[in-house]
Amino acid sequence: MSTSAVDTLISACIRFLQAYPPFEQMEAAALRFLAERVRLQHYPKGARILSTEMGVAHALYIIHRGRVRAKSTVGLGSGETTSSTLGPGQAFAIGALMAQRPTFGSYEAVDEVFCYELAADDFFALTQKSSAFNLFCTQHIAGLLKQSQQQLQLQFAQRAAEQKTMNSPLAAVVKREAVAVATTASIREVVELMAERHLGSMVVVDEQEVPVGIFTLSDVLKRIVLPGASLAQPIATVMSPAPATLPLAANAHDAALLMAMRGIRHVLAVDEGGRLRGVVSERDLFKLQGAGLRQIRHAIDAANSLEVLQHARRDVRQLSLTMLAEGVGAAEITQFISTLNDTVTRRIIELNLERHDLYGIDWAWLSFGSEGRDEQTFTTDQDNGIVFICTDIMDRELTQLRFLDFARDVNADLDRCGFPLCKGNIMASNPDLCLTLEEWEERFARWVRMPEPQALLNATIFFDFRPLFGRFNLAHRLRRELFRQTRGNPLFLRMLAENALSVAPPLGRIRDFVTSTDPEHPGTIDLKTYGVRLFTDAARVFALANAVEATNTVQRLRRAGAVMNIGTDDLAASIEGFNFIQLLRLRHQHFEQEHGRPGDNLIRPDDLNEIERRVLKEAFRQARKLQARLKLDYQL
């Protein structure tokens, strides 16, 4: 080797690279590192440079001369490919290289092609050395994420299109079989039937099954109870005659119009013979429209019974599905679910406050865990507690008993409204979680001072607290005290970081993913434990270390990231990674529930399409990056 010769060749290589992005932005030392390690390889015209069959990508390719045709498969099984031509200065196989997997699609030499090739190890070393190059790769991956999200949205849009719309004929809208009675039926019979079947209205038909009247619950009060009508009378005497009917072929929009014009809440669907075929209620149409957020909130706020709230919960689910279909991001959907669940919970608390007198006491209802982070999915159980102020220590026991009574009722009502009781008993009705402000503070302080395993576990649940009802300033005080404790105990944060690192992203060395060895769920990944947790745990440490008050993972990453000088692109990439995992969870839970199974978080990577697998892998890589930052910060 002769240094002057080597220098000449390397300088020439650097001059070439500097004519193209991202190399023109690269630091001199990094560029030299690159030029020293590349090897110039030639591919004759028509040669296949890289393809899926060649296995895991082992090098980065930078075209020096000639053109390369890149073909990539767009979606799984669609067979659709896009083709593009790459020229000098363009690099390829970044995505495959970063994910340490085979490339999708193929690269072929259009003419005599010379490529600079950088071995995988050197490629990773370069991403460490050069922030400009790292940024370039990150943006490349972010582009992939976007591409995949568009695909997901497309899938859901197709599904939404199959769903009923306001243009659907009534035949498709009516669900239950119409329940009708003859004109001769007695009022007593009708009312009994309505009560038994939980019906809000009853259609009265003649011998030909043609509807002649309708009788609703509100008529009971006005036409029977107040006038003191005899229950033995035939229903025909109190029904509203000439009910509004539409042919089955009419669409939902016609029904909505008729209801609006006549100020009625039910429209009867009839066949050509005028015979009753079904009842369309305002609620049915409401669901079709995809109830808006405001309408549902309004319904919840006005609810005066648990039943209405149960309905509202179903509407929340329906609406979140519609949002999923419309391509609304996971962050917005989980936030939306949390907001509406909050509203339901608040209403349940209010309803219970009518029966429990807590007047004169300062207190707040707290949410923990995913609810505390505003990250609820379709399946979520209760995680809540109570904080209260007790001015007189003598009253403490008694006050707590009153709160526990109250909390038991709220927990039970929440359970009835679709928030299952917490198996781990993390509920306000647990005396351990219904405490005075001082007791909470003391408890938090103890966990921080003595970070034993259980304390760390508790921290991951309870430190994500958020006030839901009552005196929000109690939560604020609690948070300030928590920061005071964590600031004074660097060891705690270190232990918490260590705890966060106890679960690694399920990325395999040989296979793409490390899947569960549980014989009951082979080939799956639990996206809660091995997915979102990676992000939430890291974000929690960041937030506590930087006194970020937010509990939401995305907000924590944004705010703490700004303080920690994490680049905006890196930050955006990790947030997108987190959101992508959440989106997969939501979709999976929805699918499971649609098939009558309890929604779990077990994803089979083999069931995902190529791009999804690739993006999931990138998402895990983002989690690994966050973990790397923890390792660095806490020297772990």
Binding site: M1, S4, V6, E36, H42, G66
Partner: protein, 237 residues
């Protein structure tokens, strides 16, 4: 001392005085095993050479510089290159001689032997490749015999003969390296400078090897046969 080294077989031509260290290095090179010419191109190391000389006659020209670039397993690494500048070319032919390079590389006779030994060390026993190999070989052999007392007996490949055979449709004309570079669009860092030309020639070698392999000519030995056959045909015609 010369009888002793002749006994060891390190030196072919007596009468050149070398230091013990130089003798030792040269002996080490001599004893390297010959390259196996029957391995695939992509398992072989070729050394592509270019020289600058004072005139076009190999028997009288002075060697001005030597440059070599290795093609290993079909690839070029920029860390695997060698150059020696003995004398700057006449002004005008080489407009921007770097003074630093000139200072370190223009050598006094005493260390020229060291440089040539280092060159042999870089080459090893790899097959040598050049464009117009006969001229390069003659010049190198003369220089090595003169300064080291060594007869260079390595296999040579001449792209000026090989390329026309592989690409019969290309009319490059005899001895036109420029034409080939232009045909394949290979740009030179600085044309007519030995290292630049060696790199450009190495890229031609990569192309030649890839196309030869497609025709089943997949080892250095096969390439030599191809060259021999073509020479035979054309020179006897």
């Amino acid at each position: 001392m010369s009888w002793f080294s002749r006994l060891l077989g390190a030196r072919d031509i007596p009468g050149v005085a070398l230091t013990a260290r130089q003798e030792q290095l040269l002996g080490g090179w001599q004893q390297l095993p010959d390259a196996d010419l029957r391995r695939s191109h992509y398992r072989s190391r070729y050394v592509v050479i270019d020289v600058e000389a004072s005139t076009g006659n190999p028997d009288t020209a002075r060697l001005l510089s030597i440059a070599a670039v290795a093609v290993i397993d079909g690839q070029i690494s920029f860390l695997d290159a060698w150059r020696l500048v003995l004398e700057e070319q006449a002004a005008g032919a080489d407009p921007v001689p770097s003074p630093a390079v000139a200072a370190t590389e223009s050598l006094a006779g005493s260390s020229l032997a060291d440089e040539l030994i280092s060159f042999l060390g870089f080459v090893g026993k790899a097959p040598m490749v050049a464009y117009n190999a006969r001229f390069v070989r003659r010049l190198l052999q003369r220089t090595l015999a003169e300064h080291l007392g060594v007869r260079l007996r390595l296999p040579w490949l001449d792209l000026a003969w090989i390329l026309p055979d592989l690409f019969r449709e290309v009319d490059a004309g005899p001895a036109r390296l420029d034409a080939w570079l232009e045909h394949f669009g290979i740009s030179s860092i600085r044309r007519h400078e030995a290292l630049s030309d060696a790199l450009a020639t190495a890229q031609l070698m990569q192309i030649a090897v890839a196309h030869a392999a497609r025709k089943g000519i997949d080892t250095p030995a096969n390439l030599r046969e191809l060259e021999k056959a073509r020479r035979h045909m054309h020179q006897s015609a």
